[in-house]
Structure formats: C-alpha cells, structure tokens
C-alpha cells in the first residue's frame, strides 16, 4: 500500500491556552486544579468565548486512579467546569497524556464532528509519599520486565545517559548546564513550580547556614553547588537530584477551533500546522539504540512533513526535559543539533532564551514542573504565551513558528506539534 502524506481534512487553530499554578498543593484535588486552568484559558481568548460553545473535552491524565483513588476523571473535569453533558474523554500515554489529548482534540475538530474543543491535562501527585509516586511512575515503564529488576524513572533515563556519555562524551557538567538554564527561565515564570534560579537557591542556603550559625558552604557558583553531593545527591547514577523534574500538581487547558471560525474569537489564532505521534518498545531493552528516542524522530518527521517546515525554521521549542539528559537527546532527535552535539549546544548557551534555538523558555519540566498528565498542554501554554507576546520577562523576540515535544515514559510514546502564527 502506498504511504499517503498525512493531511487533516480541516485546519485547526488554538484560540487560547492557560494553566493553573504548578507546584505542590496537597489540599487540592485534580478537579480544583482543572477549574483553575479552565478559568485561566477563558481569560486568554482575546474576544472572549461563552464556555457553553465548547462541544467536547479531552483530558490527559496519567494515573489519578493511583494518585488519588479517582478513575474516570474526564466527566468530573467536565462537570466541575460546567461542561456536562459534553463528551469528555481521558487520554493516557504516560507523561505524554495531554500531548495526546491535544492531538485527539485536533483530530476531532478536523473530523468535522466538533468546531470547538477544550483540551487539557491534570495531575495531582503530592498527596502521596515520594516512594509511592516513584512506584506509580515506574508503572509507566514495563512493569513485568523493567520494574521487576528495579527500574525507576530516573534510572531509566540514567541508562540513556550512560550510553550517551560513553558514545559522545557527554559530561555530567554539561547536563548541569541544562538544569541551570531551565531554572533561569523558570525563575521568570510566575506559575512555575520553582521560581528560583539555582544560584538563588544556592545563595539562600548559604544565607540560611549563616543565620543558623552552621558551617558556611564554600560554593562560589552554581556549578560548585551542583557538584557537591550534599547539595545535589545522586538519585540514580549518573542522574542527580537537580537532573530530575519535580513531583508537581497542576493542570493546563487550551481551546481548539476550526480554522474558519478562529477569528470570531481572536485576531491572532495560532495555527496547528503539524502533528505527529509514534510509539516504540515500552522497555528500553526492546530498542536497538538508546542514545536517541526513535519515536521522537518519527513523530517529528510526521509533524515536519505535515507542516512543510524543517528543524531550522523552528524559532522556539518546548521539549520534554523530565531529566536533563532528556532535553539533550530531544534537541538532537528533533533535528536542532546533530546526534551527540546536544550537550555541547546546551553548554554553549545555544538553547538559552537568547541563544540561536531557545528551548524550554517556560522553565521546562525541570523548573516549571511536571504534573505528568498536564505537561503536554502545559507546553502549549508556553508556546501560546510566547507566540502571542504575553510571556513577560521570558519573552523571546517575535515567534512565528514553534514546536512542542511531549514524551511518554522512556520514549514509548512521543507526540510532536508545530504551531504557526500568521
């Protein structure tokens, strides 16, 4: 059978995107976080929208059944934002759950069934202990053959790191630079989980030590801080605490409409010009090479082809940095840098806000936070804010073409979207 070029039968545009605060909110349930994101998205629609016009809702969520004892979250979210009896569907592909919700929303509008769709994601993780969260996240790997030998998410990405280091000479220091850069961005994001740069964190610890009359740490810069195992302990060698994204609660929402009605809602819709999704073996051992995520390459290829653009054209990208090594690999898989050169690019500042290819201006999962089911649509929120010029202190010069890259688990699902401002 001849492979057809993938094409949507109708154009789809984003008319607004907003998120709850990301952080640790033990007193809130998923539904509360989702309401906060819903109210935020309503506020971003330039000409306003009557929420009753929304025809369906897609909600990404990894595991409220394990985190909160609450399965079947989609209709609850619909109800809590006043959207019953609209169809409400949960999508789950681990940490790509809401990237997939976004994709399903796009497909649904393209199908002609709906003109206006709410897509979102939510996760509430902080009611449990870190140990239980570690277990629940590990279930997104291969429970039978990976979790059994002791796999945790940091240690899965550590496998990728050890091979990347062995093959390309990537260093622990280079990975630290990724964390520093993302915290610098997150410090400018008022809704981020961590709103401090690593230098600020370091300085506040020094100040606290002084205040308490404790021995004053000798760190003179962030790199010394990150190299000190007392400040940055090993989680799963070579992954350290500051290589990991935090355990975050949060929700994010976006509203998609058929392109032909977008200007009823805003003079500056963001057009979805590319979408791609691919799978891979769930277990790392089922893949030929782990210095790269094959599913990232394939999903990106689909999205670039549909959009008719190349990696060079992308002016800003939110990529899935659940661990610092993941950002490095993503920037290679997406074609921004050659294989093995992502770590050096980060070290040289190429991925900084003022670099040639700004990556994770939001702070990324590392600093903005990683409420797993909300992460994919959360990336779109940053793309939306940057493209519509509302990113405040994080604002990059005019962005007309941006990409979002959302990974499920260790790469067995990847979703890539490309957005255009016209």
């Amino acid at each position: 059978m001849v492979r057809r070029a993938k094409k949507l039968t109708r154009g789809v545009a984003v008319i607004g995107a907003g998120m709850s605060h990301f952080g640790a909110f033990k007193e809130k349930d998923s539904r509360d976080l989702f309401v906060e994101a819903f109210q935020a998205v309503l506020g971003t629609v330039q000409k306003g929208i009557d929420p009753r016009e929304i025809e369906a809702i897609y909600v990404g969520n990894l595991s409220s059944d394990c985190f909160e004892g609450q399965a079947h979250v989609a209709p609850i979210m619909a109800e809590w934002v006043g959207l019953n009896p609209r169809p409400a569907t949960r999508t789950e592909d681990a940490c790509a759950s809401s990237g997939v919700a976004l994709r399903e929303g796009i497909i649904a509008v393209a199908s002609g069934l709906y003109d206006i769709v709410l897509v979102g994601g939510v996760e509430s993780m902080n009611k449990l202990t870190t140990a239980r969260v570690t277990d629940i996240l590990a279930a997104a790997a291969d429970a039978i053959y990976e979790v059994s030998v002791g796999a945790t998410f940091p240690s899965l990405y550590a496998q990728i790191a050890t091979v990347h280091m062995d093959k390309y000479g990537t260093t622990e220091e280079q990975l630290m630079k990724v964390a520093i850069k993302n915290h610098d961005n997150g410090a400018l994001n008022p809704k981020a989980h961590f709103t401090s740069s690593i230098r600020d964190l370091m300085n506040s610890r020094i100040a606290r030590a002084k205040q308490k009359g404790q021995p004053i740490p000798s760190w003179t810069d962030e790199m010394e801080f990150l190299k000190d195992p007392s400040a940055n302990p090993i989680v799963a060698w070579p992954i350290k605490l500051f290589d990991c994204s935090p355990i975050t609660d949060g929700a994010a929402c976006a509203i998609l409409v058929a392109e032909d009605i977008a200007r009823n809602f805003t003079d500056e819709p963001i057009h979805v010009i590319g979408t791609g999704q691919a799978s891979d073996a769930q277990a790392l051992h089922g893949r030929k090479d782990i210095t790269s995520l094959t599913a990232s390459k394939l999903a990106a290829e689909q999205a670039y082809e549909m959009a008719g653009v190349t990696p060079k054209d992308i002016q800003l990208a939110e990529v899935h940095d659940c661990f610092t090594i993941a950002e490095v690999v993503a920037t290679e898989d997406l074609g921004f840098f050659k294989p093995g050169e992502g770590s050096r690019a980060a070290e040289e500042g190429k991925t900084a806000r003022d670099g040639e290819k700004p990556i994770n201006t939001s702070g990324g999962l590392k600093s903005k936070g990683h409420p797993v089911g909300a992460t994919g649509v959360g990336q779109l929120v940053e793309v939306w804010e940057q493209m519509s010029g509302h990113a405040g202190q994080r604002q990059v010069a005019r962005v007309n073409l941006a990409l979002a890259h959302n990974v499920g688990a260790s790469g067995s699902t990847v979703v890539v979207h490309i957005f255009e401002r016209r």
């Binding site: 039978i144 990976e146 030998v149 940091p154 550590a158 496998q159 990728i160 091979v163 799963a236 060698w237």
Partner: protein, 138 residues
C-alpha cells in the same frame, strides 16, 4: 508446570528452573526475549521456545539510590544502592537485568561493553513474587 504459552508466567517459571527462555519465530527465525506469542517481524504466530546462553555484554547501567518500594523493602536504599542495566545477549536480543558484582561506590568503574553472565539465585522471594532477571559482571 504449564509453560506452553509464551507469557510472563512461563518466562518466570523457566527462570526459577534456571533457564533464560525466549521465543523464536518458526517462520523468520526472529528471536524474542522476553518471549512473545506473535512475531513482531513477520507478524506471524508460530513460535517455539528458545533457550538463551545467558552470556552477553553490558549496554548501559545505573546505580540506584532511590528505589521503588519493592526494592526499598528488599533492603536497598540511599546507602545500600543496587545496579540494573541492559544486557545484550550473545544471540542478539537485549534484556533488563539486576546487575551483581560491581563496585557500586564507584559507578564509573563499570565499563560499557563488559561481559556478563546470567545467574539464577535460589528462589527466596515471597510467595507470588518473581525473581528478577539477574546477571553478574565478569
């Protein structure tokens, strides 16, 4: 002992009998470890059991200091880490394995490409628990 079906239950029963068993496609010869009932290469379902030698080389690894609850309950933890990684069998397929025999205080003493051999600890897990695939660095 039922080991006809190409399932995880069969795989772990074989492991308890100190055999590392995968499946082999009778049509195209593709090997699968862990075993699968359906060939991912030629999309046929004529499989037979295939015993792996248990010899291989190290592809990747991690020394884990914050483990899952199951591993914490086995006594592992921040000061008593464990190591797992990917092993490429001599026959081609890869498998995830708990790795013994390394100096975990010096993770960079472990070398990618090192030879490994499967070991089969005597069953000492709780009833219903499965022994993990385990390899020893040589």
């Amino acid at each position: 002992m039922e080991v006809k079906e190409f399932t995880a239950a069969s795989f772990y029963r074989f492991l308890d009998r100190k055999k590392l068993m995968g499946s082999k496609c009778k049509k195209c010869g593709a090997l699968f470890l862990p075993p699968r009932p359906f060939c991912g290469q030629c999309l046929e379902n004529e499989m037979e059991w295939f015993q792996f030698s248990g010899r291989g080389k190290l592809i990747s690894y991690s020394v884990v200091r914050v483990g899952t609850t199951m591993y914490e309950e086995k006594g592992y933890g921040r000061d008593t880490p464990y190591c797992w990684g990917l092993v490429q069998l001599d026959e081609g397929p890869r498998i995830s394995a708990l790795l013994l025999g390394a100096d975990l205080s010096r993770p960079d003493s472990i070398t990618i490409g090192q030879s490994l051999e499967a070991i089969f600890p005597d069953k000492r897990e709780e009833e219903g628990e499965r022994n993990p695939v385990t390899f020893r660095l040589e």
